[in-house]
């Protein structure tokens, strides 16, 4: 899966879970701070991500996922693994 395809899928999840009036593309910037979202939404996004990409986010990494770049990286890593 290319980075564009990953971003498209991830954006869909964010649009649904966050359902906010912000341009979804704004969410996709590498610097987006994941921790700015409420914790319920963030957990939901992690769980939906695991399901959509058929991966497991490693337990040890959860606490270090702070930005969109971190999340994209972990998805890519686990996909190729």
């Amino acid at each position: 899966m290319t980075i564009t395809e990953i971003k498209t899928k991830l954006r869909e999840i964010l649009e649904n879970v966050l359902d906010e009036d912000i341009l979804a593309t704004d969410f996709m910037a590498d610097s987006t701070n994941l921790r700015a979202w409420d914790s319920l939404s963030l957990v939901n996004i992690f769980v939906q991500t695991e399901k959509a990409f058929k991966i497991k986010l490693p337990l040890g990494k959860l606490a270090t996922l702070n930005t969109m770049a971190d999340l994209l990286a972990v998805i890519q890593e686990n996909q190729s693994a």
């Binding site: 879970v17 359902d19 914790s39 957990v43 337990l59 959860l62």
Partner: protein
């Protein structure tokens, strides 16, 4: 909302939670209820998703969230906060992850019963993920579950949320998600949360009397295999001889069982009436034609026929559940009959599964009136025939030889009165719903709380009306007045009012105050007080206040 009916797609509900929430916010609200969530683990997501399911039933929840994993401490040491919130429901979300000290639960229940009148919803315990490793653990879990059920049997205000069943149904391997437990302290997989919340919402709506009342059934390929008009009675497939015939037979048996619990059965089928009469005379049928309180077998559209059934039974179609193997008929009914629930499957193998898992008729406690309901409606059919044969309505009423039994609410009639209060929609002046404890309070001396039974030559209708008013010096203030739709236009309300007037005279009451609070369903009572001589003294929010001055002497 279809997304919130069985079979659920848990992941999809979580994904689109906020969108569903936004759509449901437009719905009409039937009741507002305060719910305290006490937890042994994380409940944030449970709160959000439960809210969606409750809104779908027209219930607007106000939540109080206990502190994380502190259900015991919240109740035992911080009861004031709970007391102040004064919840209608308390949900105790414990799971096998909290299975440490069983005596704690019993202390919590006792304390809750002491400090508030809320209905307690207690999870039983699901099988643990590491079950095989410890026989002792499984044994104590089973013992504790037994204890929970025993307690529920002995206490009116206590119901069990069968987590054990839900987890098994979902699949234990999926239900337990160690990663989510360690990372977020979710005691069950996030994707199973909608299933859990659906069940909680069903328990809550059932306790508020919002269950469905009628199963409206198609015939061909719904109650039997084959097409009556084409195959003839002999060609219908029903009975133990064929696999498919056995499935239809079991469905009929299931329906008979539902009927015995007080659920009404009706037929809505495109067939010739005479053919249908013949089909039910076939000894292979488990159900008889007189098991149905209404039979619409003709060639009119089904939406029209369902409205006709509603009119006949004096019920609103939103208390109906429609079963039909034909998706086009289901779609028509769903679109054209507001509020009706549709069983969304064409396969006889799935009918029972869908009806049960949607909890349309979820029983919490079955009263005697439930068990006799079918009979009442059959008698009503006889009454209707008598009415049609009478010259005028007054003669008809006279010919019924009615006797009214007005009596104080007491232990013997308590359960039925409580049920009437919580499920009566149409003839209901204030639509106040009460818990058992709240009703108990209305039996104090300063209240006049009575109910009315009605018998006639066709049979005993049981208790069909409730009235409660508070005495304040020389004024009587009516807080509750409601009557079952079975006995509209039978002068019950006049008889009750006569009784109330007599009582007032004895107690030197000079004024009676009444109130009408509008709901989407009780418009028929908007001017009721005017018809018995009250004068309107105020209007607000679509409702009104009324006054009756008693004559001197």
């Amino acid at each position: 909302m279809r997304e919130l009916e069985y079979p659920l797609n848990g992941a999809d509900i979580l994904l689109r939670k906020k969108i569903l929430r936004r759509e449901l916010q437009k719905r009409a609200i039937v009741a507002e209820k305060k719910i305290a969530l006490l937890s042994g683990s994380t409940v944030g997501e449970i709160k959000d998703v439960l809210e969606i399911f409750l809104w779908n039933y027209g219930i607007r929840p106000i939540f109080l969230e206990g502190t994380y994993a502190n259900f015991y401490e919240d109740v035992m040491f911080d009861a004031k906060k709970l007391q102040k919130f004064n919840p209608d429901f308390i949900y105790i979300h414990t799971t096998c992850r909290n299975l440490t000290d069983a005596s704690k639960l019993e202390q919590v229940w006792a304390k809750l019963a002491e400090i508030c009148s809320a209905m307690i919803i207690q999870n039983n315990f699901e099988l643990p993920p590491d079950g095989f490793s410890s026989i002792d653990k499984l044994r104590s879990l089973n013992r504790l579950n037994q204890k929970i059920y025993l307690y529920a049997g002995e206490h009116d205000n206590f119901v069990v949320n069968d987590l054990n069943y839900l987890a098994a149904q979902y699949g234990l391997l999926q239900w337990h998600n160690p990663a989510q437990w360690y990372a977020y302290k979710y005691a069950l997989a996030l994707e199973a949360v909608p299933l859990l919340c659906f069940n909680l919402a069903k328990l809550i709506k059932a306790s508020l009397g919002l269950n469905k009342k009628v199963l409206v059934l198609d015939l061909d390929n719904t109650l039997w295999g084959g097409i009556l008009g084409d195959d003839g009675v002999a060609g219908l497939e029903i009975g133990a001889e064929t696999p498919r015939g056995a499935a239809f037979l079991d469905f009929q048996k299931y329906l008979k069982g539902q009927q015995a619990q007080g659920i009404l059965l009706a037929i809505c089928s495109k067939n010739n009436y005479q053919d249908v009469v013949q089909a039910f005379a076939d000894p292979r049928m488990f159900l008889r034609l007189d098991d149905f309180v209404a039979v619409e077998a003709n060639w009119d559209n089904k939406d029209k026929n369902i409205l006709k059934i509603a009119e006949k039974l004096n019920l609103l179609p939103d208390s109906f559940v429609f079963v039909d193997d034909n998706p086009a008929e289901r779609e028509l009914v769903r679109h054209n009959v507001a509020g009706v629930s549709v069983v969304d499957t064409s396969d006889v193998l799935d009918f029972i599964d869908y009806i049960e898992n949607n909890g349309f008729f979820l029983p919490l406690k079955v009263t005697e009136a439930d068990l006799n309901r079918q009979e009442y409606y059959q008698q009503n059919n006889q009454r209707r025939v008598a009415e049609e044969g009478s010259v005028n309505y007054a003669d008809f009423l006279k010919s019924l030889q009615m006797t009214y039994a007005i009596e104080p609410v007491a232990k013997e009639n308590f359960a039925r009165v409580l049920q009437l209060i919580n499920k009566t929609n149409q003839f209901n002046l204030t639509t106040k719903r009460l818990s058992a404890a709240e009703l108990q309070n209305l039996l104090a001396d300063k209240y006049l709380t009575i109910c009315c039974g009605l018998k006639d030559k066709f049979g005993d209708n049981g208790i069909i009306a409730v009235f409660s008013a508070e005495r304040r010096a020389e004024t009587l203030d009516i807080g509750l007045w409601l009557m079952s739709c079975r006995v509209f236009r039978r002068n019950v309300e006049q008889e009750i009012f006569k009784y109330v007037l007599d009582w007032c005279r004895k107690k030197q009451i000079k004024k009676i105050h009444g109130h009408y609070i509008p709901t989407p369903k009780n418009k028929m009572t908007a001017d009721f007080y005017a018809t018995i001589g009250f004068v309107k003294i105020a209007e607000r929010d679509g409702g009104s206040d009324w006054e009756y001055i008693l004559a001197k002497g």
